[in-house]
């Protein structure tokens, strides 16, 4: 049973036929990207940044607050657009897409995990995971099954009907993880995923995190916690809107 379900999760190419590269090309590519806020007084949140994220990478982006991490996260997550430069996701120029296209791409390609979990409070764990599968051509029954399988993979089958307030922080973050992986995204994008957890839960979540990567999928963790960053294979350091270091270590 479990076996079938997980294989189902790993090969939904029929559901998401859009963007499976045949040859290895960057999943996400920033090319001379700047992000400027403000009209009269320009504030450079990001300055001429170039970055490539390849499939299968487990990468961390670190830096003190104000270094441009959040801006980077918004751009990588297709929640924001660059002022200048190009953001390409699987070859598509993000700026050339309209909102429905970009939203669709975001839903298909990226799975978000947030520090504050950000579950919808009035929905059950299952409902929260299902949210990521809405507005697609999936029958409600199949959607529920897929959402349940994702919860099951994270050991939350018994919690499927619980609301966020009825769960511990660790459980909530696992629900958020289930929501992120239920679409089988090509990139997991996490913002301080252990920031709101105690050390035991944090370790557990990190362990799950490390196991989320596949040869096709990249995992990107934005954090200022160096212990978290150390679990990644590649560490990109930022300061003042620029990338100041990009180190890889053997996996």
């Amino acid at each position: 049973m479990r076996q079938n379900d997980s294989s189902d999760l790993e090969s939904p190419t029929a559901q998401f036929p859009t963007i499976r590269p045949a040859t290895v090309q960057p999943l996400l590519e920033l090319e001379g990207v700047s992000r400027v806020y403000g009209d009269e007084v320009e504030v450079f949140a990001l300055r001429e940044v170039s970055l490539r994220i390849m499939p299968g990478e487990f990468m961390s982006i670190v830096g003190p607050s104000g270094s441009g991490k959040s801006t980077m996260l918004g751009l990588l997550g297709l929640l924001d657009l660059p002022t200048t430069g190009i953001v390409r996701i699987t070859g598509h120029d993000v700026s050339a897409l309209d909102d429905p296209q970009r939203s669709r791409l975001r839903g298909d390609v990226i799975g978000f995990v947030f520090q504050q979990f950000h579950l919808i409070p009035h929905l059950s764990a299952l409902g929260n995971v299902e949210t990521a599968l809405l507005y697609r051509d999936i029958r409600p029954k199949d959607r529920r099954e897929r959402a349940f399988d994702a919860l099951d993979r994270l050991g939350l089958a018994a919690r499927a009907d619980h609301r966020p307030v009825q769960m511990s922080g660790g459980e909530q973050q696992r629900v958020a993880l289930a929501r992120a992986i239920v679409t089988d995204p090509m990139m997991i994008l996490a913002d301080e995923p252990t920031g709101a957890l105690d050390s035991a839960n944090a370790a557990h979540v990190l362990e799950i995190f490390a196991g989320l990567g596949t040869p096709e999928r990249a995992v990107v963790v934005v954090t200022h916690d160096l212990a978290v960053a150390a679990t990644a294979h590649r560490k990109v350091s930022m300061r003042d809107g620029r990338i100041v270091a990009d180190e890889s270590r053997a996996a």
Binding site: S65, G74, G77, L79, F114, H118, Y135, R136, D137, R179
Partner: protein
Amino acid sequence: MSKARDLIGVAWTGLMARKVRTFMILLGPMIGVASMLGAVGLTESAKGALQVQLAKLGTNLIIAQAGGSFGSQNPTLPGDAVSRVDAVSSVISAAATTNLSGVVSLPVLGAADYYTAFPVPVRAADDNLPSVLQVPILDGRWLDRADSRLHLLSVVLGSGIAKQYGYLPGEIRTIRLNNTNFGVVGVLGPVPLDPTLDNAAFVPQWAARHYFGTNGQPNELYVRTKSGTTEATAADLPTAISLGGPDQVSTQVPSNVLAAQAQANKTLQKVALLAGLLVLTVGGLGIANVMSISVIQRSAEIGIRRAVGHSRSKIATQFLLESLFVGLLGGAIGVLIGIGAVYLVSSVEHWVVEIGYGQIPIWMGLALLVAVIAGLYPSIKAARLEPLETLRLG
């Protein structure tokens, strides 16, 4: 199709997650629709009752009265007015009454002062008056030929007077008219077309001539006409009665007054409709207000939905649908309440229930329109929220 279903599901869950708040904003469209439907339903039902009454009473009764030259004390019609009217081809039947002025009627001895001060009108009436009026006899009998032939001192009470005198059905009762005792033989049913008859006592024509000195000249004629000729007959009757003589005659069709009452309700209906519309509009402001606050409270939810791939237009539609459901649900409950109110009041008032079912789509449409307009601004606001800001990243 599946997208529409998903949207409906999301909007519905959003509403149901906040039941009290949802109920509060339901009240606007609910009360608005209920009052508009109730306004039309109640006035139509009241009018319906009048129309049923009119149909029962007939619209072909004419009352002809002596107009009298200005200043004359007791204007009368010619003595042969009834036979002149009967000669008109469109007339089915006619009956006359004569007002007996200066007659004091005493139902009981010992209250002479009161009944002198407030005299009950006594009228001499023809034997066929009830059949012309098409009014039933409530108790006993009407005046008939036996009274004239045998010179019986009979009196019939109007329904109002019978109540005032405390006359019990079948009671043997004499009342004193001036100095003569008359025996009560019956009670005339209510006459909606001429309520003055309810508050009169009726004696036979011969008794009026013999005891109260009338000269056989009536004051009023009640005339039934063939249907469809009533207005024309009413116009011609004065000439037929006076034959160009000095007597002035005025005619009226009393059912027209009732019909006018049914018309007058239109004004009430309009006022109530406007009140309902006002409630609906204010309710719409309430929806807009609460939904706007809701969008702020749910900004994190909106950010999450955007992050998992819901587009701006999906977010806008989600909130617009929530608003629309409020209008739909409130309106539907309002329809039920309105119908219930019309049935309740109608059963208490003995009206014939008339509910403008055909107008329900209009009221529902108005409720939906107001709800959607109210939801527009909050929806657009929700769609414009930047997920980067609402999710507090980094």
